[in-house]
Symmetry: C2
Subunit: 197 residues, 2 copies
């Protein structure tokens, strides 16, 4: 194949296939198995369209949110999925993910590297309205799967109400109209014994 | 939960979780297992950004392409994935998928039903530049996985070169600058014995 540029692009597309092997803690709604990060990314990218009315900012660029969400977990190909309540894993998560970004995005042709990498950086920085909405959806989706599987993952990891409230702060910031709903489900989860008080 | 509208939206988000169980014929690049339609949808939605320079139409709306691809396989939740070389399955595929669309999209609040359903309809009609590019990526990705796993799925199903050439016509129509590359890989696949002549 003479076309070096296209070869790099195809190389990147084949490389990111590996995200389908990165298992999260979250289980699917029928409880049959754990979810992987590619499935999760698809699920939240599509949710952008379903829940866009709950963003506080009407001028939000939903295309940008979608791009951010499709890319946001690619670093896990090298760095793995860090469980949010794993305090030890979180310590060096940033270093591991930055090294992963250095390798993975650089598979692309030079002019595309920063385009893609900046989406991940925007997600991590949580400063733009698009990033805030993306982070809200990234937290909401596993919360829903946890709640509607009767808290199975929470129970297995003895998760407490206060931890979930803290974990769900991005919903309050990025999609505040959904916070009331989330807060209500957290209370119900405690009542039903899915979450420790 | 008092909010009937939000309840429908969350119901839809939980319903589409089932796409993660729909297995395709294609296998992952490490050949460990078959790919599911949620992973496939994520992969091609992200490929939109990587390969956009190969569309013939510079004015193409990439956000629309991405939306189409995130939604295009949802009907498989009821209708299943129809293998493209399964002539019997293809006979009633359209009817099965239309019934699936009637059920699945109608889980949404009434004003969102047509918004989402029209993305699937646009994909199926293959008339807009966005739909053509979406269809090209939908065909290209499994082709790449087939080729770079040494044709394992082609060999298992005794697929012939002419079938793949026909199957890949949407690449010629939707991303013609990629056609030359695909055509070259098809020839190599025959040479290497991945495809029957």
């Amino acid at each position: 194949m003479p076309n070096e540029r296209l070869e790099k692009q195809i190389g990147f597309i084949l490389e990111i296939d590996k995200l389908k092997h990165i298992l999260r803690k979250t289980i699917l709604s029928d409880r049959s198995r754990r979810e992987n990060s590619a499935e999760h990314s698809w699920h939240i990218a599509l949710s952008v369209l379903i829940l866009s009315e709950y963003t506080p900012d009407e001028a939000i660029d939903l295309f940008q949110v979608m791009k951010i969400l499709l890319v946001h977990d690619l670093v896990e190909i090298d760095a793995g999925d860090t469980y949010c309540y794993d305090e030890k894993g979180i310590e060096d998560q940033e270093v591991r993910e930055r090294q992963a970004a250095d390798r993975i995005f650089n598979i692309l042709p030079p002019d595309q590297v920063q385009n893609l990498r900046s989406l991940w950086e925007e997600f991590e920085a949580k400063t733009t309205p698009e990033s805030k909405y993306a982070n809200a959806l990234d937290r909401l989706q596993p919360f829903l799967l946890n709640y509607f599987t009767n808290g199975q993952t929470w129970l297995e990891n003895r998760v407490k109400q206060a931890q979930v409230i803290k974990r769900m702060q991005p919903v309050q910031k990025g999609a505040p109209f959904l916070w009331e709903y989330v807060n209500e489900l957290i209370k119900l989860a405690v009542q039903k014994g899915y979450l420790e008080e």
